[in-house]
């Protein structure tokens, strides 16, 4: 009886084969590298004409800000956008994938995509991966049935809400929404409230920062306001630019020539290393010989010229 091992093609989804090995390594102190996360404050709210989505623009890799101005509001369909929090790769990949699926569906049906379709595709995918695809999303859009706003959690559960926040800054943003949201907001009121909520996240949460992105979706279409507000500009920048003091071409060799030879040469070659000049002057009727070393200004000669300062009685700057 032969012991044949039947080659079964691997099924979809994650393979958990290396989990035991990773656990063993972690116990020995080897920790896996941290993922690029989007720390984040993402929000959405429903106003009288549609949906407004908002997001901050900071992407973190552990304690470091790896991208100061990333885009967290992803395109799903012309009338549907999705903000993503969690692991950046996961949110990008999953929204990209569902966006393509929606496009194919549009070709197939010949109709505008519905928000509930995007919702169902996303939650199916995320539930399938049991929370390992670390994507927390705020999905918003306007379709024939009206404006919709949903939150989707990494494990696949969803909520339908009039206002929603996700990410590490969600509590700070929710504090703003809970105290200021009301139904029937106008477009400007809505944008202001979304901006305020994101700013609350930016200034009170360490995982969120930089600028505010806003996306307004109505029946008429969408308006993607990239960097709608930039509350963290670089301070102390000079409009004239900066110039650093020049050390070459300032006239050291010229000065030496004038002093020792009493002549002026308009064009000089670049001083190589150090040049020596000498002159006799009289101080108090006593003749004194001056040994003057003209050092090169170029950075590359620095190690050579440095040694000439030792024992110097006078240094001219």
């Amino acid at each position: 009886m032969s012991n044949s091992v039947i080659e079964v093609p691997p099924k979809g989804g994650f393979s958990f084969d290396l989990c035991k090995r990773n656990e063993m390594l972690a116990k020995k102190g080897l920790n896996p590298p941290s993922f690029r996360k989007t720390g984040t404050t993402i929000v959405g709210l429903i106003f009288q004409d549609g949906v407004i989505l908002g997001a901050d623009t900071r992407a973190t890799e552990g304690p470091i800000v790896c991208d100061k101005n990333c885009e967290k509001i992803h395109y799903m369909a012309p009338n549907i956008y999705c903000c993503g929090a969690g692991t950046a790769a996961d949110t990008e990949a999953v929204t990209d994938m569902v966006s393509s699926q929606l496009q194919l569906h549009r070709y197939h049906t010949g109709r505008e995509s519905r928000v509930v379709t995007a919702l169902t595709l996303l939650k199916k995918h995320l539930f399938n991966y049991q929370g390992y695809v670390s994507a927390a999303l705020v999905l918003g859009g306007v379709d024939v049935t009206g404006p919709h706003l949903h939150t989707i959690y990494p494990h696949g559960s969803t909520d339908t809400l009039p206002f929603a926040t996700m990410g590490s800054g969600s509590l700070a943003a929710m504090a703003v929404f809970e105290s200021k949201y009301k139904e029937g907001l106008t477009r400007n009121e809505g944008i202001e409230l979304v901006t305020e909520a994101i700013c609350s996240g930016i200034f009170n949460d360490l995982g969120s920062g930089s600028n505010v992105d806003v996306c307004v979706i109505t029946k008429a279409g969408k308006e993607y306001l990239r960097n709608h507000l930039q509350p963290n500009p670089r301070t102390y920048t000079s409009s004239k630019g900066y110039s650093f003091p020049k050390k070459t071409g300032v006239g050291k060799s010229c000065l030496l020539l004038q002093f020792t030879d009493k002549r002026f040469q308009p064009v000089h070659d670049l001083t190589i290393g150090v040049e020596l000049g000498a002159r006799m002057i009289s101080i108090d009727d006593k003749p004194v010989g001056l040994q003057i070393w003209d050092t090169a200004g170029q950075e590359s000669f620095r190690p050579i010229t440095r040694s000439y300062y030792r024992g110097a009685l006078l240094v001219g700057l």
């Binding site: 509930v116 909520d159 339908t160 009039p162 509590l171 504090a175 105290s179 139904e183 609350s200």
Partner: protein, 244 residues
């Protein structure tokens, strides 16, 4: 039958039998306390809930108490440790009164005392499992500070403990300003407490607001906040996404 004494690892820095004496986890806990400085003094708010894990066991716990003539103490965390702290402070104030020298401990002094107590307890790995808020007025000077269970202490124009740090502080940072009137201060505190009520699972809708000024302290009667649930989206949430 061998009698097994409680085992401790050989290299433990703790003394024998000490595990049963140390606070390892809190049991009956209070949730956030929020406080701010206003024109005449300090306003502080806390709800009256004492949770036993995930059960709301006690609904009339007073988590704010006046200390001496000049201070007000609010606590979140383990209620029994709060009662112990009140006992220590009682003794402190009593001994201060016994000097009968016309001087009395102000909020700065009480805050310092609490900081030392909390930090020393944590160094002995036996913390008082509380986050405290200490506010008061003495000689016209307003003071508002906080101490955590590991001894982190600071003073500020507005402080909060627990969830209040995440939900109330952002609102206070936006909307607090110098010389708030009493009504404005109460309104601002109620705004914060309402958000906490909506979003903190261990909060209850029964709170007290305490005020302390140069004249003295008063703690209000318990009352509840009005909440709003009439959003049309709440009426039929799955309207646009049937089956989700």
């Amino acid at each position: 039958m061998q009698f097994m004494a409680s085992k401790q690892p050989e290299n433990s820095l703790l003394g024998p039998e000490s595990d049963s004496q140390r606070t390892l986890y809190p049991y009956v806990t209070g949730t956030s306390v929020v406080a701010l400085k206003y024109k005449d003094g300090i306003l502080m708010a806390a709800d009256m809930g004492g949770s036993y894990g995930s059960t709301l066991r006690y609904k009339s716990v007073e988590r704010m108490k006046p200390i001496g003539k000049h201070s007000l103490l609010g606590a979140s965390g383990e209620i029994s440790d709060f009662q112990e702290i009140l006992h220590y402070l009682d003794e402190l104030i009593l001994y201060d009164n016994m000097w009968d020298d016309g001087n009395s401990l102000g909020p700065k002094e009480v805050h310092n005392y609490l900081t030392r107590v909390m930090y020393n307890r944590r160094n002995k790995f036996n913390p008082l499992w509380n986050s405290l808020v200490l506010g008061g007025v003495k000689n016209g000077q307003k003071y508002l500070g906080t101490v955590s269970m590991i001894g982190v202490n600071f003073e500020d124009n507005h402080v909060a403990t627990g969830f209040g740090n995440h939900l109330a502080r952002p609102i206070l940072r936006q909307e607090w300003h110098e010389n708030l009137s009493f009504e404005d201060g109460v309104r601002l505190l109620e705004k914060c407490m309402r958000v906490l009520l909506y979003r903190d699972r261990s909060a209850i809708n029964k709170l007290q607001i305490a005020k302390i000024t140069e004249e003295g302290s008063t703690i209000s009667q318990p009352y509840s906040l009005k909440t709003y649930w009439e959003f049309s989206a709440f009426a039929n949430p799955a309207q646009g996404a049937v089956g989700s």
